[in-house]
């Protein structure tokens, strides 16, 4: 199963012969460096402040620059919102394991909503397949790359995993530059312009939720979602980390996350944990709920439950 992802999708490899080539390239590139670097180097981008340290005006300016850059690159208008959290809202997620059929519609809805790279493929949701009747949540024997003609398969059940939006997030603690933090509505976000790509957060995350842009993310212009949020689905860069944000661009505008909307069996629930009448509160109080890796005290806001 691990072989599939080991394929290098861009076919970039280096054999022994490359050694001499790279030595030659080293000399050539070193001499050409000032020229090519000047083309790519943008002093405004380089000096851009941390998102939470910018004034409203500065945010506006930065977003103006980013929108212009993105529009130039994809040849269409890209809007980047900086909508703030609504007071009195803390988002929570529920996933009904008794309903999930493992169709991965959520995975691909997420990819197109959130502008993940298509090649190499970046998925924010991993759906794990387990054999019925064996050890419960035996992650080591779960299968991520299942590919049957039809789902659900007999004798299997499925568990999608994405960012659990922990209240006590190990990733936030780990980040050496405070490029990732928890917003007042509980969403853990990343400032893609502040991330240095050290990937310490990925080592710290117990849920395998964080993704790194190993190469420049590749999103075809006709598939680009142009309604974006600064802390969410705006186009990302090579060398930075990204992850599920509960579709911050949608949920802060009063919509459901894309994965909730697309789920054909209604296994995905979403709502305000602070609202006693919300659906998420109802299911937490009335269903058999559990959270993943509870022993780590990360306090996720992502609840798995059994409705039937």
């Amino acid at each position: 199963m691990s072989k599939k992802i080991r394929n290098n999708p861009l076919g970039i490899s280096m054999d022994r012969r490359m050694f001499l080539k790279s030595a030659a390239a080293g000399i050539a590139a070193a001499s050409a460096l000032p020229v090519s670097a000047a083309d790519a180097f943008d002093i405004n981008a380089f000096l851009q402040k941390h998102f939470r340290e910018m004034t409203e005006d500065e945010i506006k300016k930065v977003i103006g620059r980013l929108e212009k850059e993105a529009s130039l690159e994809w040849k269409k208008d890209v809007r980047i919102s900086a909508a703030k959290a609504t007071p009195g809202v803390k988002f929570g997620y529920g996933l009904d394991l008794s309903r999930c059929i493992g169709c991965r519609k959520c995975v691909y809805a997420c990819v197109s909503e959130n502008n993940q790279s298509r090649n190499p493929q970046v998925h924010w949701i991993s759906v794990l397949k387990f054999k019925k009747g064996e050890k419960w949540i035996d992650l080591e024997n779960s299968e991520k790359y299942y590919n049957p003609k039809e789902v659900p398969e007999k004798d299997s059940f499925y568990m999608p995993v994405q960012c659990q939006q922990c209240e006590d997030s190990p990733c936030v603690k780990a980040c050496p530059t405070q490029a990732t933090w928890k917003e007042p509505d509980g969403i853990v976000v990343i400032d893609y312009n502040w991330c240095i790509g050290c990937r310490y957060c990925m080592a710290a995350c117990p849920y395998g939720a964080r993704r790194f842009n190993w190469s420049k993310p590749n999103v075809p212009a006709n598939e680009l979602n142009t309604e974006t949020h600064y802390l969410g689905n705006r186009p990302r860069y090579k060398g930075v980390v990204e992850k599920c944000t509960f579709c911050i661009q949608r949920t802060r505008a009063g919509k459901y996350p894309a994965c909730v909307e697309v789920c054909p069996v209604g296994a995905r629930k979403f709502g305000n944990l602070l609202d006693p009448k919300s659906e998420i509160r109802y299911l937490i109080e009335n269903k058999r709920v559990f959270r993943l890796k509870e022993d780590l005290n990360t306090n996720p806001k992502f609840y798995y439950f059994f409705a039937t």
Binding site: Q178, I196, C205, G208, W214
Partner: protein, 402 residues
């Protein structure tokens, strides 16, 4: 000033062998630079790292080298605290090794970053350092602090020597005292970097920091043993055999401790047999048919055991040939154990149980070799600069001229 220029002159002048050595290292550095520029252009996709195993060969080398930086402190303790003369005379070379190792550490971190230009974000004041929450922030502080302390000590010692004077111990003594716990701290903090992650059971074991220190105090001094003999061969400096024996004796103790701690770890994981033994199982026996690191792990164990025997028996410890074999074995053994053997199993299986077997690409290897060559070059030039000052050869010349 004259001494400074003369010393610089000594860096540039040399025989054909010296030039060949410099040219060889420079070629490797340039190759590494070329490979790095390609990596910058295409992204870290040129490495074998992926989301499942998000750190690899670079961080493995970084971890090993933090350990090497320990060598200095092990020499400093007997030299200054107990005024053990033979070692005091060579402490300078240990400190220079620490400077080199920390510089290489910083380079290995730099090549691992996805956005190396943005590295200023983790500086205090001008950036937004996540201190004290992030252990990586601590590591930035202790490593740079260690670099500064050793650089100051070396510069001061050379300055005094160039004036033809013994260095005033009273002036640097507080700094020397500070350098001892500081050296311990760079290892401890680097261990805590891994140790603090509850997501990775392999690292999240209390034995990690003690093992880090034990293994660092094996490989660092062993490397020092070899470097000292090389300096003795290629220069006029007399390095007392007593100093060599003393270091070798220390290595015998530290290998023993390291092996004991390894045994404790192996016992706990395999006897209790919880699912958290998977990474260790991967290392020693392979997991679900994936066994890329298994031969290396056993090789490291065999090397460490052999080195232990060599260093333990006085006869083999004092014989130059067997001593050098032992030193090489322990360096390679610890390099495997504290490098790839520590970093990769932390990610295998990954947090969702997936096994992705990591093995560095040629690109990663070339960049790594380039950084090692840079380290060797840097150290060679530093030693070359310091030697004439140290032996006092230049002072006489300077006096004659004036």
């Amino acid at each position: 000033m004259k001494v400074l220029f003369a010393a610089i002159g000594n860096v540039v002048k040399g025989d054909a062998k010296y030039y060949a050595w410099l040219a060889f290292l420079s070629a490797l550095v340039v190759a590494g630079l070329g490979a790095y520029l390609q990596q910058l252009d295409k992204g870290l996709i040129t490495t074998a790292m992926r989301d499942q195993v998000s750190w690899g060969f670079y961080i493995a080398n970084f971890t090993f080298l933090v350990g090497v930086a320990a060598a200095a402190v092990l020499l400093v303790i007997p030299a200054y605290l107990y005024n053990f003369k033979p070692i005091k005379e060579i402490v300078l070379f240990g400190e220079m090794l620490a400077i080199t190792a920390v510089t290489m550490c910083i380079l290995f971190i730099m090549v691992d970053l996805g956005q190396p230009l943005m590295v200023w974000h983790l500086l205090p004041v001008i950036g937004k350092m996540n201190f004290p929450a992030s252990i990586l922030a601590w590591d930035v502080i202790v490593l740079n602090g260690y670099l500064a302390i050793n650089a100051l000590l070396v510069i001061y010692a050379l300055y005094r020597l160039s004036m033809g004077k013994e260095y005033k111990l009273a002036l640097v003594f507080p700094l020397i005292l500070l350098s001892i716990p500081w050296a311990i701290s760079i290892h401890t903090v680097t261990a805590f970097l891994y140790n603090g992650l509850s997501s990775r059971p392999f690292w999240n074991a209390s034995i990690l920091a003690p093992r880090f220190l034990a293994s660092a105090f094996c490989s660092g001094p062993a490397l020092m043993l070899i470097i000292l003999q090389l300096i003795r061969r290629f220069s006029k400096i007399e390095i007392d055999q007593k100093a060599i024996s003393k270091i070798a004796e220390l290595v015998a103790y530290t290998i023993g401790i390291n092996l004991f701690l390894l045994g404790a770890e192996v016992f706990k994981e395999f006897y209790s047999g919880s699912i958290h033994k998977a990474p260790l199982e991967y290392l020693y026996f392979g997991l679900h048919g994936n066994s890329r690191l298994v031969p290396w792990t056993w090789m490291a164990l065999l090397f460490n055991l052999t080195a232990f025997v060599i260093f333990l028996i006085p006869k083999t410890r004092e014989n130059t040939l067997t001593l050098n074999i032992g030193a090489l074995l322990i360096i390679v053994g610890v390099y495997i154990e504290k490098g790839m053997g520590l970093v990769v199993p932390g990610f295998i299986p990954d947090t969702l149980g997936e096994i992705y077997e990591y093995w560095p690409t040629m690109q990663e290897v070339i960049i790594t070799v380039g950084i090692w060559a840079f380290g060797a070059l840097f150290y060679t030039l530093m030693v070359r600069f310091a030697l004439p000052i140290y032996t006092g050869g230049l002072i006489g010349a300077g006096k004659q001229r004036s």
